[in-house]
């Protein structure tokens, strides 16, 4: 019962991502947070070089 049949009125990309437990919102949060790792390591490298 984890994944339900698609019941949206209109099919859409976002609706397609939304067909499961928090799948859409977890996807969006991941996409938002992941590049921050890259920013973190870039900044870390920069600070080490300065030292």
């Amino acid at each position: 019962m984890l994944f339900e049949p698609f019941t949206d009125v209109y099919p859409s990309f976002w609706g397609w991502l939304n067909q499961g437990p928090l799948t859409l919102t977890l996807f969006l949060h991941t996409v938002i947070v992941l590049p921050m790792f890259w920013l973190y390591f870039k900044e870390k490298k920069r600070l080490e070089q300065e030292k």
Binding site: T7, Y10, V31, P35, K51
Partner: protein, 210 residues
């Protein structure tokens, strides 16, 4: 001086992160907005065209979706006639305009938004109360009853709180009824839930023990 080299206290890191997150959230919102615009266009499956006022409208539980959905049924006369697409659109335009001009939203809620001094109007067209109101205002149909009530609400008090007379003309009242009927046909993802389900028990004295 190892302390000053932590990324966690680097203003640059937080500034870049803030810019990234804000920018990306805005982009996502814009993309979502495009998709939503497509879905809520008037005349679509979520927001029907104005000519829906020519149809019977119901609000039924959908097992598939887990909540009630509007059910657009057979043709029925609205103020004794069928309205052409243009006539219906003009009537809805006037109704929406009147709803704003009379400031409905600062007592009622529309789609749940507004003030909380008077009943929610989302599914007001479907309210069983109008059946009681029909003999009270001397009307043969529901739409006539609503129109008559709107023109002289102060004459038909049903509770301690009365709607004031907002100088609504017969034409404006007709248009407002069209606006309400159209709104009741909008797919609101099941809001309000179980609309008016307890009213029968309430009328029977609010108890099942009879």
């Amino acid at each position: 001086m190892a302390k000053s080299h932590s990324v966690w206290t680097s203003i640059r890191f937080w500034r870049q992160s803030a810019a990234w997150v804000t920018g990306f959230a805005v982009v996502l919102l814009i993309l979502l907005t495009f998709d939503t615009m497509r879905q809520i266009k008037m005349g679509g499956k979520r927001v029907p065209s104005p000519s829906v006022i020519n149809n019977h409208i119901d609000y039924k539980y959908s097992k598939k979706r887990g909540h009630e959905v509007p059910v657009i049924g057979d043709k029925e006369p609205f103020f004794g006639k069928q309205w052409s697409d243009e006539e219906a659109a003009a009537l809805l335009h006037k109704g929406k305009l009147t709803s704003q001009a009379k400031n409905c939203m600062n007592c009622h809620t529309l789609l749940g938004n507004g003030a909380y001094y008077a009943p929610d109007l989302t599914k007001a067209w479907l309210d069983p109360k109008w059946k009681q109101m029909m003999p009270m205002v001397g009307a043969k149909t529901k739409e006539e009853a609503i129109a008559k009530f709107l023109q002289h609400p102060e004459m038909y008090p049903t509770h301690e709180r009365r709607m004031p007379n907002l100088k609504i003309t017969p034409d404006e009242a007709k248009a407002l009824v069209a606006f309400l009927k159209h709104m009741s046909a909008i797919d609101t993802n099941g809001f309000p839930r179980g609309f008016s389900k307890g009213v029968k028990e309430f009328e029977a004295g609010g108890t099942y023990a009879h």
